[in-house]
Structure formats: structure tokens, C-alpha cells
């Protein structure tokens, strides 16, 4: 089991256009920097461009909304073998159910392309695996419920299911490499470690408590648990505890 602490800062700006009475278009751009304390190779800078088409079915805050969004994102890691492009497309449906409950359901397709997809390493058994570990594709389905617990606070519960390719780092073992679809050196987690790609399912549950301190600022604390299973008896989990502040101008 490995643990680390990260510090993340993000800036995002955008433009909202309203081409129709019920239809809006939002263009956005953002930059995020995440700094890892221990595994510094995972520290990364991300740049994002996005466009979202929004349609509201009727008038009033309880009218349902359908959003179709697309993003293109560039991630540059300190360990630059992980550098990649990420393309996403997402369809979401959201509706305010009561004054204090808002529901969202979404499906998304993610495709990422690593820069170093031609790297190859020799791994036993005699199977020549490609080195494009960071080329991955996945489908993601999620649902979220936002519950206003007070005039300035709300809880957000998110359940997400991801089906597709994922990567993990480990000391090479035949049982795992037989199930891998790609493998590459990954000294970031130690000498001799490799990063392998496999088909897997990930379930993720997150709970965040948010407090609006002003109309422009919100503080939050949250916890997230991811459980990934792939192939035969391969499973690992990730637990995240987070706290932060969001400003809007």
C-alpha cells in the first residue's frame, strides 16, 4: 500500500452563449497544476479546452437539462513518459427534484493517447507486449445526488462505474503480465517496476460536504473510494481524502 499527499490548484475561464431560448453553449479553458509530495513524477500540469451544448426542457429551475460536452486535455507529467492527450465526450441529464435535491446521471467516453507509445521492453514469458500503456479507452457511467443540508451547505454523493482500460504499476509477475495488454518501464514507483495496462472495471464512490462561505466561494471536504478489478484475481483500491476551496468571479 502506498500513500501520498498532493496540492492542486486550478484556474478555469469560459464564455457562455445562448443561441436559443432553451439552448446554451459554453466554451471553457483551464489550467491545473497538481503537485505530489512523495511520488513527484506524478506531478503534472494539465491544460483543458472544452465545449458544452446545454438544452433545458422548459422553464423554471425544475426543468430537466441535457448537456453534451467534449473536452481535449493535455497532461504533462514530471515523469514525462506518462505525458498524454485525453479526449472526452459526455452526455448528462440533470434535474432538480425538490428544493433541496438535485439529480444527475451521465455517460462518458474517454480516450487517451500517450506520447511514448513506441517504447517496448522485453518481458517474460515469451510474449511481446506493446509499450503503449498510456493509450487507453473507457466508458464511464455516473450518477450524482446533491442534497442541500442547510441554507449554505450541501452534500454531494457520486457513484461511478468505469469499464475499460486502466494502468497499474507493479514488479513484473507472469500471472499479471499474462493478462496485460501493454507494458512499459515505470521507475517512478521503484527500480524494476513496470506499468501495465489491462481491461478492468472500476467502481468509485465519493461523498463531499460543501459549505458556501459567500456567494462566490465554497469550501469542501470529501472522501472517495475506488475499487478496480480486472482479469483473474487482480484488484486494487484507491482511497482519497480531499479538502479545498472554489472561487467564482
Amino acid at each position: 500500500m502506498e500513500g501520498d499527499t498532493t496540492l492542486l490548484g486550478s484556474v478555469e475561464g469560459g464564455l457562455h452563449l445562448q443561441p436559443g431560448i432553451y439552448t446554451g453553449l459554453t466554451l471553457s479553458a483551464g489550467v491545473t497544476r497538481e503537485q505530489f509530495r512523495r511520488f513527484t513524477g506524478l506531478s503534472q500540469t494539465r491544460g483543458l479546452l472544452g465545449a458544452t451544448l446545454d438544452h433545458k426542457f422548459g422553464v423554471g429551475e425544475r426543468a430537466p437539462r441535457l448537456r453534451l460536452g467534449a473536452t481535449i486535455e493535455r497532461a504533462d507529467f514530471n515523469a514525462n513518459t506518462r505525458n498524454l492527450w485525453l479526449h472526452g465526450i459526455r452526455l448528462s441529464y440533470s434535474q432538480r427534484l425538490t428544493d433541496s435535491l438535485q439529480f444527475t446521471a451521465a455517460i462518458a467516453h474517454e480516450n487517451q493517447q500517450g506520447d511514448n507509445d513506441r517504447l517496448r521492453i522485453a518481458v517474460p514469458p515469451a510474449r511481446q507486449l506493446p509499450g503503449d500503456t498510456w493509450n487507453q479507452e473507457a466508458l464511464v457511467a455516473s450518477t450524482a445526488l446533491e442534497w442541500a443540508t442547510g441554507p449554505s451547505s450541501w452534500l454531494t454523493a457520486t457513484l461511478q462505474f468505469r469499464h475499460g482500460e486502466t494502468a497499474a504499476s507493479i514488479t513484473p509477475r507472469p500471472t499479471i503480465l499474462r493478462q496485460a495488454t501493454a507494458v512499459t518501464n515505470d521507475p517512478l514507483f521503484g527500480v524494476g517496476k513496470v506499468a501495465y495496462r489491462l481491461d478492468a472495471n472500476t467502481r468509485q464512490f465519493a461523498l463531499d460536504w460543501n459549505l458556501a462561505v459567500t456567494e462566490e466561494a465554497t469550501v469542501y471536504v470529501g472522501a472517495e473510494r475506488q475499487l478496480t478489478r480486472g482479469g483473474i484475481s487482480l484488484s486494487y483500491q484507491v482511497n482519497v481524502i480531499r479538502a479545498g476551496m472554489v472561487f467564482s468571479y
Binding site: I21, V59, G60, G69, G150, P151, S152, A212, A217
Partner: protein, 216 residues
């Protein structure tokens, strides 16, 4: 229509120095449960000596500035009309589902073509279909004697002498219920009405930013 609580609150009534004018005035001072001056309330005289006075229509404005209705609460007499300019640089789509007045002003910026007339008494809640956090109120009253409370005070002038049924409404009173007090005006000069209101907390969460909400 607004419900009312009759005579359930104590009235702090004090005759102040008379000014010598023939008509009476009512000076209302409102504080919340923490002693802070109350804004965005409406005070109005529902009846005078048991009789309902005839409303006097006016034309007023409710602006939209920085994705906010300004003023947040507007009082008008039955028959009045309100112009709803949009001073923001973005378009708004105003609407109301209230039984007292249902209307819609689809996407616009600047000044809409026609003011909206309010011919029925009651509470009209305003919203914007683009910006769900925008919320405003119009209270339509059947009296010519009404005022919006700003910084904790409001003044009603040119009141006839007699027994007044005075109502106070605020959007954060529980159940949208107006409070009612009976006030005997002085034969001339000012009459003071001081009240402490118990208000529900302000819902900052309506507009506050969400983590990750602008993703995609």
C-alpha cells in the same frame, strides 16, 4: 394570497412628537433575531378602520444587475405595471409561475418592449431560466399605503387617522406568511412601529460555485 397571523405579536407603539401636519405617518423599524437591520421587507396598510383603501397604480422598475434582481423585493399596488430592464451584458429569460401573475420574457438584453401589468394581489416570485440562482419577488397589494423596507426602516406618509391593520412581509419569514399588527395612528405626526422578525437563513448555496461543475 398571503396568509396572515392576526394580533399574535406584540406591538411596540409609541406616539412621537407631533409635527403639526394633519395627516399621520407610520415609521416602521425592523430588526432580525440577531438585532441586525432588516432589508427587503414590505410593510403595508391592509385596512383602515376595517375598510380596504383603493389602491393607486404606479409604474416602477425591477432591474437585473450582476445576475441579481434589483431590488430583490418590489412592492406595488394592484393595477401597477413593472418594467424589467436587463442591465447585464448577458441575456436573461425572466419568468413567473405565480397564480397572481404568470408571465415570461424570453431571452433579452436592455429594455423589453412592454412593461408587465399586475392586476391581482399576491406574491409573484421571479426567476431566470438561464441563471437558476436568480430569485426576486414582487408583492402586489390592494392598498395605496405600502413601502419597501431598506436598512431596517420604512415610512408611510399621508395616512388617515384611525385603526390600521399593518402587515409586514419578508421572503425569509416562515411559510411566506405576512405578520399583521393593529396600530392606532396619532391624530397627527409620526407613529412608530418597532418589530423583531424571525427570519430563515439566507440561502447562499443557490449561487455558490460547485467543485467541478463547469467540467465539460
Amino acid at each position: 394570497m398571503l396568509q396572515r397571523k392576526v394580533g399574535t405579536c406584540a406591538v411596540a407603539l409609541a406616539a412621537m412628537l407631533g409635527s403639526g401636519a394633519e395627516a399621520a405617518s407610520l415609521v416602521v423599524t425592523l430588526k432580525d433575531q440577531e438585532g441586525a437591520a432588516v432589508s427587503d421587507a414590505v410593510v403595508y396598510v391592509a385596512t383602515i378602520n376595517g375598510q380596504q383603501p383603493a389602491p393607486v397604480p404606479r409604474q416602477v422598475t425591477v432591474d437585473q444587475v450582476d445576475e441579481t434582481f434589483v431590488p430583490h423585493v418590489r412592492a406595488v399596488a394592484v393595477g401597477s405595471s413593472i418594467s424589467f430592464p436587463n442591465s447585464d451584458h448577458i441575456r436573461h429569460h425572466m419568468y413567473s409561475f405565480a397564480p397572481a401573475k404568470t408571465f415570461e420574457l424570453p431571452l433579452y438584453i436592455g429594455l423589453p418592449a412592454e412593461p408587465i401589468s399586475f392586476d391581482q394581489a399576491g406574491l409573484v416570485t421571479l426567476g431566470c431560466n438561464i441563471h437558476d440562482h436568480m430569485l426576486g419577488y414582487v408583492l402586489v397589494v390592494e392598498t395605496p399605503y405600502y413601502a419597501e423596507v431598506a436598512a431596517g426602516t420604512a415610512r408611510l406618509d399621508n395616512l388617515p387617522d384611525g385603526e390600521l391593520a399593518v402587515r409586514i412581509w419578508h421572503p425569509r419569514l416562515a411559510d411566506d406568511t405576512a405578520l399583521e399588527f393593529t396600530v392606532q395612528t396619532a391624530t397627527s405626526g409620526d407613529t412608530a412601529l418597532q418589530q423583531q422578525l424571525t427570519l430563515l437563513p439566507d440561502r447562499k448555496a443557490r449561487r455558490a460555485p460547485r467543485r467541478g461543475s463547469s467540467r465539460y
